[in-house]
């Protein structure tokens, strides 16, 4: 709002908040709860992360394993969720067929599906990707559906008054009008997808960040456990940043339309 001053002070506040949190954590672990099987200082976590990244390099296979599962599940959710949402929006028949299944699958906790998916798809990548997919697909599908359903009636009238054919109505009006909704759904899916990765790797995996955290927890290896959590957080932040860039690129017309506080 106040331009540069606001950006500047906002950055200071955010940075200060992070530092204060880390300091509090450090003080707690150093002076109040001095039990390394319970909590360790963020400095220890950083040291462990450094070793795992640059000395032993043992973190990389876990990161790559998780990132690939996340990427495939996420991509599959977009590839299937977006067109499925469109079909539901455009065809009442499809809507009636799909919606009871969608509501059931959406509201059932995904962790309940994990064992059966593992049985079906085996302990390899397939089951894990399926779990991530199941987490990501519904926000994307629902938002794509909703985005196309709420397209401003005026735009549709406009298309009719220009005698646009139905494919042109779809490509020039319905699709671009839905893009912000689809992107919002995709953003929602990031968190759910990462949760899916963690769940998938808790059940019978031999690598991945979820496995790392699970194993570290079992062996009371608190520093490694926190490194795993931090890596998950980094993966999430990275995904958000990539999405933000895609959004700016895909919807340049929204720059300046967004509500700023």
């Amino acid at each position: 709002m106040n331009g540069r001053f606001h950006d500047y002070s906002s950055t200071i506040l955010k940075g200060g908040s992070i530092l204060a949190g880390l300091l509090l954590w450090h003080l707690l672990s150093e002076y109040f709860i001095r039990d390394t099987t319970f909590i360790v200082s963020p400095l220890v976590v950083v040291k462990t992360a450094y070793d795992m990244l640059f000395v032993t390099g043992e973190l990389y296979p876990h990161i790559f394993a998780s990132a690939w599962i996340f990427f495939y599940g996420f991509l599959l959710a977009i590839v299937i969720g977006v067109p499925a949402g469109f079909l539901m929006a455009l065809s009442p028949v499809v809507r009636d067929y799909v919606s009871p299944w969608m509501m059931t699958l959406y509201t059932t906790p995904r962790i309940a599906f994990a064992p059966v998916l593992l049985l079906w798809f085996g302990i390899g990548g397939g089951a894990k990707v399926a779990i991530v997919f199941l987490g990501c697909v519904f926000p994307i599908l629902i938002n794509s559906f909703y985005g196309m359903r709420v397209v401003n009636r005026d735009y549709v009238e406009l298309a009719r008054s220009f005698r646009l054919r139905s494919w042109a109505l779809f490509l020039k009006i319905l699709l671009p009008a839905s893009v912000p909704f689809i992107l919002a759904g995709i953003r929602l899916a990031v968190g759910r997808g990462l949760t899916g990765v963690a769940i998938a790797e808790w059940f019978g995996a031999t690598e991945g960040l979820g496995y790392l955290i699970f194993f570290a927890g079992q062996t009371l290896n608190i520093p490694t456990l926190f490194v795993g959590i931090t890596a998950f957080a980094a993966l999430g932040i990275l995904s958000f940043e990539v999405l933000r860039r895609i959004e700016n690129y895909a919807t340049p017309w929204r720059n300046g339309l967004e509500v700023r506080d």
């Binding site: 401003n152 005026d154 735009y155 009238e157 406009l158 009719r160 008054s161 220009f162 005698r163 042109a168 020039k172 009006i173 671009p176 009008a177 893009v179 919807t251 017309w253 929204r254 300046g256 339309l257």
Partner: protein, 265 residues
């Protein structure tokens, strides 16, 4: 003399209702509009004038009667764009720049370079050169309506249908836009049907003013505007202007009273 560009014969629109008589929006409208003529339709709120414009444009079906354009009944499936519609809200697509909004009706009909040239030409005509790459939210309300007008004109329609295009603008901008429309109309020589609830606006712009009755809408009367062109805001002080405004107002007042008074609207 050639036949009328637009002709309505006994045009009626009803909305069927369960267990009751149909709801009649307007009935037995007869209207001819000649080439290059500017005709305004005024009437009390809810008299069906906007609905009629949408029926003419094929956005809504009619119940009975006929619509002819150049003597032929248009089909909705016709690919040829006979009518340009200027909406009340600018209804510009927010993801398209001014130029691309104007291009909407041209895409797929013209060669793309030709379309660009035409869109550019009409943006220029409405006074928006230099704003080609602005998105709608970067334009003022008046500018948005200019794009709206350019978009309708760009397809070179036989008739321009305008549905209270300046109603949402502030009074000052509205005055400027009325003058702009006079200028643009003089340059393009389009046949225009203009719906408004503002009597002064109708008189200032038109060759002929049609007064609608209250619902169900019928043509109550029509007046030729006895003012020479080109016109400016000064004609509003002309005694003939004031006299006509007074007569039309009296009629609309009667219609409103006949429909149960203003509070019933």
């Amino acid at each position: 003399m050639a036949g009328p560009v637009l002709e309505l014969r006994n045009l009626s629109k009803e909305i069927p209702r369960a267990d009751r008589d149909p709801f009649i929006i307007f009935r037995n409208i007869n209207l001819s509009v000649q080439e290059g003529e500017f005709v305004s339709i005024v009437g009390p709120s809810g008299c069906g004038k906007t609905t009629m414009l949408r029926v003419i444009n094929g956005l809504l079906p009619h119940t009975s009667g006929e619509i002819f354009i150049d003597g032929k009944a248009p089909k909705v499936t016709d690919n040829e764009l006979l009518m340009g519609f200027v909406f009340q809200g600018a209804s510009l697509l927010p993801w398209r720049t001014s130029l691309k909004n104007v291009l909407l009706g041209l895409e797929g009909r013209n060669h793309s370079q030709e379309a660009q040239r035409v869109a550019q030409k009409y943006l220029e005509l409405v006074g928006l050169s230099g704003f080609e790459n602005h998105y709608p939210h970067e334009l003022s309300g008046g500018m948005q309506q200019r794009v709206n007008l350019a978009r309708a004109l760009a397809v070179d329609p036989r008739i321009l249908l305008m549905d209270e295009p300046f109603a949402a603008l502030d009074a000052q901008t509205r005055n400027f836009m009325q003058l702009e429309l006079l200028r643009i109309w003089a340059q393009t020589k389009k046949t225009v049907v203009f719906v408004t609830h503002m009597i002064a606006e109708a008189i200032l712009l038109s060759d002929r003013v049609i007064v609608f009755s209250h619902r169900p809408g019928t043509v109550r009367s029509e007046f030729k505007v006895p003012l020479p062109r080109p016109r400016s805001m000064e004609v509003k002080a002309d005694s003939r202007f004031l006299e006509l405004e007074n007569v039309v107002w009296k009629q609309i007042e009667e219609e409103v009273n006949a429909s149960g008074g203003f509070t019933q609207m």
